[in-house]
């Protein structure tokens, strides 16, 4: 179980998590859109902050491929809210807070020792199937090039 994240072809496990203190987001609400699910260890930590800042700016590139990016960590909804406001993030951050790490575990993206999400990326298609996934070392910001390549491969597969 440890060390393997869900791979291409797997159905993306549904979730129902807080994206703001008074709103929840379910994966199946997003059917018809592609979803980039970015698990990351923690709000405020230097590497994650850079990663989220880059995704914030790359949103317009993702949207050209009908894709929306969503961040997810075990931080609480209030912590996410403060982080979003401080960094001017314009995409949802989900709180995998209670039961802690439950959704991260379903995707194989939970670090039991540290008690936080791993740094893992999933690109999910319009039908809720994972088309690409990538596990990055905790200290390495994976950037967005792999995501864009995956989205382009999906575009080409449609023809």
């Amino acid at each position: 179980m440890a060390g393997s994240i869900l791979e291409k072809g797997a159905t993306a496990p549904d979730f129902d998590l807080h994206c703001t203190p008074d709103q929840r987001l379910k994966l199946h609400d997003l059917k018809g859109k592609r979803v980039i699910l970015a698990f990351y260890p923690a709000d405020w930590s230097p590497v994650c902050s850079d990663q989220m800042a880059v995704y914030n700016e790359a949103r317009k590139l993702f949207q050209q491929h009908n894709a929306e990016v969503i961040g997810i960590s075990v931080d609480s909804k209030w912590c996410h809210l403060a982080f979003e406001q401080d960094r001017h993030l314009h995409f949802p951050l989900l709180a995998d807070f209670e039961p802690k790490g439950e959704v991260s575990r379903l995707y194989g993206a939970y670090n039991e020792e540290e008690g936080q999400s791993k740094r893992a990326l999933f690109v999910i298609d319009e039908q809720g199937v994972i088309q690409w996934s990538y596990l990055s070392p905790d200290g390495i910001n994976p950037g967005a090039d792999g995501i864009l390549e995956a989205l382009e491969t999906m575009d080409n597969g449609k023809h």
């Binding site: 880059v54 790359a58 001017h88 967005a144």
Partner: protein
């Protein structure tokens, strides 16, 4: 390690020695303090390794984190339309704690730019497209923050020291001798 997906071309802002064995590309953001730290390193590198380096600057403004980064990038590009890109680039980095519309205009005046032309170029669609194209090429090349450096197309491990840049450049330069 990531590689540069968009090769250096005539539309890039370049300085240094044409035909140098090393092409150093920076993806940078004028309001990023880490880029501000790297700026004098680049100046020193260009002075000390004069015949070895062609330096290219590409824009990677993180607009939400740095509200003046995008207009600063456009201001440098607009100065470039009048042949003063690198002068503007230097002034902006040297004053990166005080960037806003007014200060950028005052830099343009200090450089004796044709202000009417500058004002037009600063807001032009063409330059906005150039800055966005720079950003997109960075994303595709795996740029995940600024500054990110590529030496002859390969991303290098830069650790905020002059030495890390110098070593990356020397390794390639020596292989060409």
């Amino acid at each position: 390690m990531s590689t540069l997906k968009t090769p250096v071309s005539g539309s890039d802002r370049q300085t240094g020695y044409r035909g140098a064995p090393v092409t150093l590309v920076e993806y940078g953001d004028y309001q990023c303090s880490h880029c501000g730290i790297a700026h004098p390193f680049i100046k020193r590198l260009l002075a000390e390794k004069e015949k070895d380096i062609l330096f290219v600057f590409r824009n990677f403004p993180l607009q939400e984190a740095h509200p003046a980064a995008y207009i600063a990038a456009l201001a440098a590009e607009a100065a470039g339309q009048q042949g003063k890109f690198w002068l503007m680039h230097d002034i902006i980095f040297e004053h990166q704690d005080h960037l806003d519309g007014n200060s950028l205009l005052s830099f343009a005046e200090a450089l004796d730019l044709d202000m009417h032309q500058f004002a037009q170029d600063w807001k032009s669609e063409a330059l906005q497209q150039k800055v966005e194209a720079d950003f997109e090429s960075g994303i595709r090349s795996g740029v995940n923050g600024t500054p990110t450096f590529f030496v002859n197309g390969e991303k290098i491990a830069y650790d905020e020291t002059y030495e890390s840049l110098l070593h990356a450049v020397e390794r390639v330069a020596q292989a060409h001798r």
